[in-house]
């Protein structure tokens, strides 16, 4: 079937099998490999993107279900050479190690800050609780999201 999805503001059209997962569509068609795959059961969150501004695990959705929706991936965060405050915060606070969960974490956190620009530590922990990280123990991720919340004004 032929589907069109808006990914990072650009319409991507492709003939796909109905069973094609959104995560595979994103990785294969525009070749945006920042969105990762880490489990088969929608537990790990490495594939988290935003759909119409809300965090979505892209292994949970069929590409066909996303026709007409706006998808944003980690590649959309940096604009005109300006990093998203979350990207800066992750670097400043050492909130990543192997980097595999990072894109999903960033998108889950973006989804949070877009609706709650000044979250508490507990709210941050709840918001990223669908995203597993094996390296950081989450402490610095929580700090990084707070850092971003405190530096939102630098966002374009």
């Amino acid at each position: 079937m032929n589907i069109s999805i808006s990914i990072n503001g650009e319409t991507v059209t492709r003939d796909v099998e109905p069973r094609t997962l959104l995560v595979h569509f994103i990785r294969d068609t525009p070749g945006l490999t920042g969105t990762h795959w880490g489990c088969d059961t929608s537990n790990c969150g490495a594939c988290t993107v935003l759909m119409d501004g809300r965090a979505l695990k892209s292994c949970t959705a069929l590409a066909a279900m996303c026709e007409g929706h706006e998808i944003a991936t980690v590649e959309s965060l940096e604009r005109d050479g300006e990093l998203d405050p979350l990207q800066q915060g992750f670097h400043e606070c050492h909130a990543l190690q192997c980097g595999f969960c990072t894109p999903g974490m960033l998108m889950a956190a973006r989804g949070l800050l877009d609706v709650n620009p000044d979250p508490t530590e507990e709210e941050i922990r709840v918001a990223i609780s669908g995203n597993l990280c094996r390296c950081t123990g989450y402490k610095n991720i929580v700090a990084a999201v707070r850092w971003a919340a405190e530096h939102q004004e630098v966002a374009p």
Partner: protein, 786 residues
């Protein structure tokens, strides 16, 4: 060029170089690589734990549109690839031909144009099995009527995986126990768990039949050792194999072994004549790749006059169907005999018996230096049991029994030489951060109200950085690491390493070492690794060996370059090398600091047409292979504070205090990050991570639905502290740290929970401390996890 004093050089909290690509989603992980004409592999796995294979019919799969090849053991036999060596000198079936020996074992491999079709084809393969009775319980593996698992091995008459292995002095231990005034005894299980890195294992193999060149893309922790294994397995010359490891999404020991899927990808590329990508799914990762631990331990500990004096340990090790545990050759039970811990014991005796069972092979370290995690867990549980028996505070018994600072280097009764330590000091720092006395007061008040609060202490000593070549090898390869350092005319440096980062920040830390030693900014040092064609030989990253071995190699190679620079500086300054002194970034004439040349001046000179010292060739570079004289022995004091809900038996880790002494910290930010991650894994192991089996040998934890790892909601905001006792034999005074938090945290959490449950008479409870298992213990019915 800025003045020397303005340049940020060397050790410190330098932000990571590698972040720039990761925060933009520009990492280069295995699945991100797409080669022209690449095919995809998928593996059919056994539904049975133990069964004979009567026949395999692949015709329907082969007929499916898009399928390029279906490979079975028969095909591999013709290539000589049906069996492969494990890293423990055992053999492992690449694809099962005679019978399957664990659920999830590799049976057939499909090569197809995309991964969806490859998986469709798996459904079309018809395998006729005759189920056999499985051996699931390791305690029964050596029963006379136990089915023989490894009938493929000539002379194998039972399920013993390796001969009984002993350390320490049995008679001396018997004497100490005879003289003791108090003895405690416990059965303690360290259950099977799994490193479960977020990126699963996989490979792209690209064999060129015209040139005979095999290009491999694969995230593994030891690319050079892997290349040597493939050279043996495939009969190719090493220089015809190139392994490239891009970014690796975590390893934790899981990416140390060579897996059948890798050999299938190689065979697939040979058969199909195209690059073949194989990436396992999460269930395959959890059910078939290297698990960790699975030690069934029986221990006795004794004391005299209030001090710990002796320890006896008897272990059954479950190695699964093929012995692919990871450890240096001489040590079939790894470094388990470090089980004397941090205590000045009079005698100890350890014996370990390893058995085959119908379970996945493994026994790799999960963020642990070769079984030290099991050892530390055991000794720290036993110390708590003894303290309970003696009626003394667990900290007090540890303080009385610690090795004292003046006893270092300290020879343990099981043969280790600890390098340095001041254990009492580190314990006191942890108690201060925790407010230990206040916690005990709070606990007493809560107990009086019927609340279940526990405080758990663990003190660990690890031996990491394997290791000295006279003692340690894997498959005959000495556990040394190389480093090459080259300075360009502009003074920019490239250092090549055999260590293999999986997120540890090597590109930053190793640049800092060169920067510190040569006085050039870390941003001017490029760290090159992960490509066997572009890095020196060495055994890779696991067992916390990057800083102890590769870090030392980088320091030594930097000093070699500095010494060459000194000779060149002497020529430039028209003096003798011995008349020069070093300060960061320059050699100057002793007694006259104004007379000096910087490393940049020297490098420029080295490449110029001007005169060089007698015997010098142009350029400025050096290489080393570093052979560590000893392991490094990091240690730490951990305190966990837990609350157990009396109605749901749910455990909350409210606080966790970790004070690590890993010697000199090159980048404290990265060290702390490693500690946070390891503590989280350790809390996961203590509370939720378990690979278990039913009596048919079905794996019950084959996905993240059932194999639980901690989320941000299950871990506290860690409280860290540090003491610094430099390693006397490491050129930088550094010790390894990556694994310490995983080693030290499970006993702290378990000791805390058992402390919380003490009013209910609970004396021991095996991990994982799930609500159901804690509840059973609260009702007086604790059950082992397997």
């Amino acid at each position: 060029m800025s003045a020397l004093e303005d340049r940020p050089i060397g050790f410190g909290r330098l932000k990571r170089k590698e972040d720039a690509r990761f925060i933009r989603g520009q990492g280069n992980y295995l699945d991100d690589i797409r080669l022209p004409g690449m095919l995809h592999a998928a593996i059919l796995r056994s539904p049975f734990a133990h069964a004979r294979i009567n026949s395999i019919d692949t015709s329907a799969a082969l007929a499916l549109d898009g399928v390029a090849a279906v490979i079975t053991a028969k095909d591999l036999e013709t290539l000589g690839l049906a069996w492969m060596p494990t890293i423990s000198y055992d053999t492992q079936a690449v694809l099962a031909g005679d019978k399957v020996r664990f659920q999830g074992q590799e049976v057939a491999c499909v090569i197809a144009t995309d991964e969806y079709i490859a998986r469709d084809a798996l459904q079309l393969i018809d395998v006729d099995y005759d189920p056999l009775p499985p051996v699931v319980n390791a305690r029964k593996a050596l029963d006379p009527d136990a089915p023989l698992i490894r009938d493929d091995k000539e002379g194998q008459v039972d399920n013993l995986a390796s001969p009984l292995w002993e350390a320490g002095d049995e008679q001396a231990a018997d004497r100490v126990f005879a003289e003791a005034d108090t003895v405690v005894e416990r059965d303690i299980i360290y259950p099977r768990c799994h490193p479960a890195p977020l990126e699963t294992c996989g490979m792209i193999a690209d064999f060129n039949p015209q040139t005979g060149q095999l290009n491999i893309y694969n995230g593994n922790q030891a690319p050079h050792a892997h290349r040597t294994v493939y050279a043996h397995v495939a009969g190719l010359a090493e220089h015809m194999i190139r392994i490239r490891c891009g970014d690796i999404g975590g390893g934790f020991g899981n990416k140390v072994p060579v897996y059948p899927g890798y050999v299938c990808a190689i065979a697939g590329s040979i058969v199909a004549g195209a690059p073949v990508k194989w990436i396992e799914d999460r269930s395959e990762n959890l059910m078939s790749t290297g698990f960790a631990r699975d030690y069934i331990m029986h221990a006795q500990m004794c004391s005299k006059d209030g001090r710990i004096t002796g320890l006896r340990v008897d272990v059954i090790a479950d190695h699964g169907a093929f012995d692919s545990t990871a450890q240096p050759t001489k040590f079939p039970a790894g470094f388990f005999h470090i089980v004397c811990g941090s205590y000045d014991l009079q005698a100890a005796h350890v014996q370990v018996k390893a058995v085959y069972t119908n379970k996945a092979p493994g026994g790799v370290a999960y963020r642990c230096s070769f079984r030290i995690t099991e050892a530390v867990y055991l000794v720290e549980r036993m110390v708590d049991a003894l303290a309970h028996e003696l009626g003394v505070d667990p900290v007090e018994l540890r303080m009385r029994s610690f090795i004292h600072p003046e006893q270092f280097p300290y020879q343990t009764t099981t043969g280790w030489t600890y390098d340095s330590g001041d254990y009492q000091k580190t314990m006191r720092v942890a108690m201060d951060i925790a407010g230990y006395e206040d916690l005990r007061r709070e606990q007493a008040e809560k107990r009086a109200r019927g609340e279940l609060m526990g405080v758990g202490v663990a003190f660990f000593t690890e031996g990491v950085g394997a290791g000295p070549r006279r003692h340690m090898d894997i498959l005959g390869l000495a556990m040394n690491d190389g480093a090459d350092l080259r300075l360009h005319p502009s003074g920019k440096a490239v250092v090549s390493l055999s260590a293999q980062t999986q997120g540890q920040g090597h590109e930053t830390t190793f640049a800092q070492i060169v920067a510190e030693e040569l006085g050039i900014p870390p941003e001017d040092v490029e760290v090159r690794h992960g490509d066997t064609d572009k890095s020196p030989y060495g055994l890779g990253t696991y067992g916390s060996r990057s800083t102890p071995v590769s870090g030392a190699a980088v320091a030594v190679v930097s000093r070699k370059v500095r010494d060459k620079a000194r000779a060149i500086a002497a020529t430039m300054l028209e003096t003798r090398p011995e008349d020069l002194a070093w300060e960061k970034g320059r050699w100057y004439v002793k007694g006259d600091r104004t007379q000096g040349v910087t490393i940049f001046d020297i490098t420029k000179r080295a490449y110029s047409g001007e005169v060089l010292p007698e015997g010098f060739e142009g350029g400025l570079d050096a290489q080393v292979i570093y052979d560590p004289p000893n392991l490094t022995y990091p240690y730490g004091a951990y305190i966990a504070v837990v609350d157990v809900d009396p109605e749901t038996a749910h455990v909350t880790v409210r606080r966790f205090i970790a004070v690590d002494d890993c010697g000199v910290r090159i980048n404290p930010m990265i060290v702390e990050g490693q500690i946070h991650g390891g503590l989280t894994e350790g809390i996961g192991i203590a509370l939720m991570e378990l690979i278990s089996f039913d009596e048919e040998g079905n794996c019950l934890n084959g996905s993240f639905m059932d194999y639980l790892i901690p989320t941000a909601l299950e871990v506290p905001d860690f409280e860290l502290g540090e003491t610094v006792t430099p390693c006397p034999h490491h050129p930088l005074g550094a010790k390894g740290v990556g694994e310490s938090p995983n080693v030290g945290s499970p006993p702290a959490v378990v000791n805390a929970v058992i402390d919380a449950l003490a009013p209910l008479g609970v004396q021991h409870l095996d991990m994982p401390l799930t609500p159901a298992r804690v509840w059973a213990a609260m009702q007086g019915r604790p059950e082992p996890p397997q």
